[in-house]
Amino acid sequence: MRVSLFITCLSDLLYSEVGESVVRILSDYGCDVDFPEAQTCCGQPAFNSGYQDEAREVARNLIRAFEHSDYVVSPSGSCTGMVHHYYPYLFENEPEWKAKAEALVGKMYEFSQFLVQVLGVTDLGASFPHKVTYHPSCHAMRLLGVKEEPMKLLSCVDSIDFVELPKKEDCCGFGGTFSVKMADMSEAMVCEKAVNVCSTGAEVLVGTDMGCLMNIGGRLNKEGQPVRVMHLAQLLEEGRTSR
């Protein structure tokens, strides 16, 4: 099975380890992973700030980059959600590009979604003897409908001590440009999230979106809290290799 990785700009630039974990896992499950070099960003920062024309051109670049892919997998529910939820709308007035956008939607998956729904795997044979809590990302849950998948994967991990995060569905306050533009609102939200994470006593916070994790992790760092923040792919990969 040929699978193209959409790394997302954030993971490309700041969290390359996440991409490496995704690629290693997919490749262990028989996927032939490639990395279309032309990809950059899904355009969400511009789109969510109201700059639809600007977002459209960045989207065009992404559509082109994956035009010949069979499957596209990304470690972000938010960027995948952007493509699924808004790309067809962005090209409403360009039938040819709208069709291309829809084609991309049809083959694009978030990482946990791809593992569970397409590859049909939930038990990766990982063991992770740590106290872990999980923050579900808003866009994965609500734009993409990915709710059960990450939990299915986590529940199969051996020796994990899983604790539920109080008020887990509450947004962490990232929201892309929101975190800077409405810094005070965002601060109130991320502070509450950090308090909830710490209240679990977990050593590890796991999630499926580096945007949210950069936000919560950045807060935990600033507070000097000793919580390790990981993408689900990293946790699974570490749990597989440490066995």
Binding site: T40, C138, M182, E187
Partner: protein
Amino acid sequence: MSVQAGHGQDTNMDERIGSGLKQRTKQALQDEFLRKAVAFTTDKLKNGRLQAMDAFGDWEAWRDRGRAIREHTNSHLDYYLSQFADNVAGNGGHVYFCSGADDAVKTFMGIADRHKAKLVAKGKSMVSEEIHLNHHLEDRGIEAIETDLGEYILQLARETPSHLIIPAIHKNKQQIADLFTDASGQHFEPETKVLAEYARKKLRNYFLEADIGLTGCNFGVAESGSITLVSNEGNGRMVSTLPKVHVVVMGMERLVPTFEDLEVVLNLLARSATGQKLTTYTSILTGARHPEDLDGPEELHVIILDNGRSAQLGDPIFQEVLNCIRCAACLNVCPVYRHVGGHTYGSVYSGPIGAVLTPLLQQDMKEAGTLSYASSLCGACYEACPVKIPLHDMLVHLRHRKVKMKLTSLPERAAFKTFQTVFGSVTLYKLATKSGYYLQKPLVRGGMIKAGPAPLSGWTQSRFMPMMPKQSFRDKWAALQAELAAKKAAREEQR
């Protein structure tokens, strides 16, 4: 105790809806009482809603039904409005269509003048807040008494509602007891029962003395011309039956075609709002007092307000906002509302629905349109909305309107043009991100960026930022590929 009609402008309504937003946010965030009170009550309502949804079963199907009913009504609003108006008139009521707030106020004053009204008893009505009726009544020397307990508390405090259904959500018991103590000269302990009992007794007299009873309308039923009022205190029933004249003020979109439809939306409303199966009181009023009736007002006047609503009809993106049934579920789940409360929005309508509705009704993108930024776009509002209004999408589209109207700052516009250029081509992207690595260096301390100039300071005020490592994923790709190829070769050899 004498009560003045509350202006509220000293505390809440802000001309600078947009430009004052950040200031109001800061203020609210410093108000520990407010934050505790709002979080406490929204949590309670949120949990109540979830339980009620589960108990009801098939929630998604009910939501679809509700949405379909509202969608159908608003897509044929001219038809249902005229049917509704004909039926109200057929039952002896008077109907007035008012295009704007001034018009509606004038119409109300006309009715008040004809009856030489001195005292108006009010049931809860967001539309009367929207047209700032209390303010105009005070100017005219007409006393208006809010008979909803929450609204009454706010009237004492001279504030406006900060929530659609729990107007005084931002006040805790102690603050309420203090208000009652100040107003009555009698000492009150912060005990809900005592406070409610006192207010109930006090308000009873007003129902009997009032010249006019004023209410809103939760749903007008087109097929019969009936006004449906829901409440948990029963004051709506008193206000609409005891005074001689009953005046209803309602938005033009607040209709359902039939009683069968009413059943659906009432179920959705009560469950979404408070988690109740049905509100304690549901009054369905059809016309003024009929000869065979034991009670009821002698006259019924129905003021139907447009005030920016019809401008949304036919709009492919925003018409749906008219489907709102004002349940406040979106406020209760909103993480922004939870921290800053309703007054931060500077508008009668707050929370996600307020952030969308206010700029649309006021047709003002410059100030009111700024409310669209008061959201992280998490989509909790959409998920909770019983009629599935995609508020998170609408917020983004409002921001787009701002951009199209050139109402965003020059530096911001330039930044996104640059974003388009740089992220639209991988060559430029690579170039820019490599220079980014060197540019960040003066800011990095111990592998982190802990402080930076604006706009980065917005981030660093509450969080650290990881520094950009020298190698990006794409820089590592060749090595990763080689690793995988070697692994594959080893596997094949084993076979």
